[in-house]
Symmetry: C2
DNA sequence: AGGGAGGTACGATGCAAGTCGAACCTTGTT
DNA sequence: AACAAGGTTCGACTTGCATCGTACCTCCCT
């Protein structure tokens, strides 16, 4: 079962849930942005430049979290998101490559450097 | 651009559209059912045992068709659906393997033999 | 020619998902 | 202690999607 913060274990990940999570353009954009970062990189939820309100952003990150795509960790003041690369690759081999190869040419979700 | 029947060319396939198409349980079930068939197999749209009406079924097959996942060909009396394996594998390598490995244990969508 | 089988198109309906603002919590800063 | 920053939760609204019935089309068979 998911932990107290709603992260499913690797074995609990469901492809249909993952696909539904990825089927939203905003969430897909977040995943591809994380995929462009070096493995293990952490980003603020607010650093993706999503054109939505705070509450809607929390909603989308919740979907991603509960699908098992990202892990959100408390970092004192704020909370950071990290792509669960190993879990995803282990449970759904090839999925991340697939996403990476079809990432939008997008650059609105700036790299972590813009995080000053 | 898509042909007169709404089939997109291989290069036009969009991953986001494909993921949205697959994110529905019924449509996912159709794809996995086709995946269990030998390559190139054709099935009646009505042979999948979907618990929905005729018009809803047409709707779902339209989504699958316009996403590029299936090709629908007129066969005189009726119309048959075929999985576009080569196009999918070429455009989104690994996607079909991913789906096949996560197919539901389902058996309601009987094999083509049930087509008597 | 008529009827049945298989599919599509259209309009209407109901429910799920995305969206927002407001209130609240926690952490760190002043 | 007060406040700002970053997130979450809640309820309300709106849009989109799945669903259906009806009507219509095209083939095939009788």
């Amino acid at each position: 079962m998911p932990d107290t913060e709603g992260h499913p274990a690797r074995a609990e990940m469901d492809l249909l849930t993952v696909l539904s999570a990825l089927a939203d353009p905003l969430r897909y954009q977040v995943v591809t942005a994380l995929l462009r970062e070096p493995a293990g990189a952490e980003r603020h939820c607010s650093s993706f430049g999503l054109p939505i309100s705070k509450s809607t952003r929390a909603h989308h990150f919740r979907i991603l979290r509960e699908a098992g795509l990202i892990r959100q960790v408390d970092r004192g003041n704020s909370r950071k998101a990290r792509l669960r690369r190993e879990d995803i690759e282990s449970r759904f081999p090839g999925l991340l490559d697939l996403i990476a190869q079809n990432a939008p040419a997008d650059d609105s979700s700036a790299p972590s450097r813009a995080n000053h």
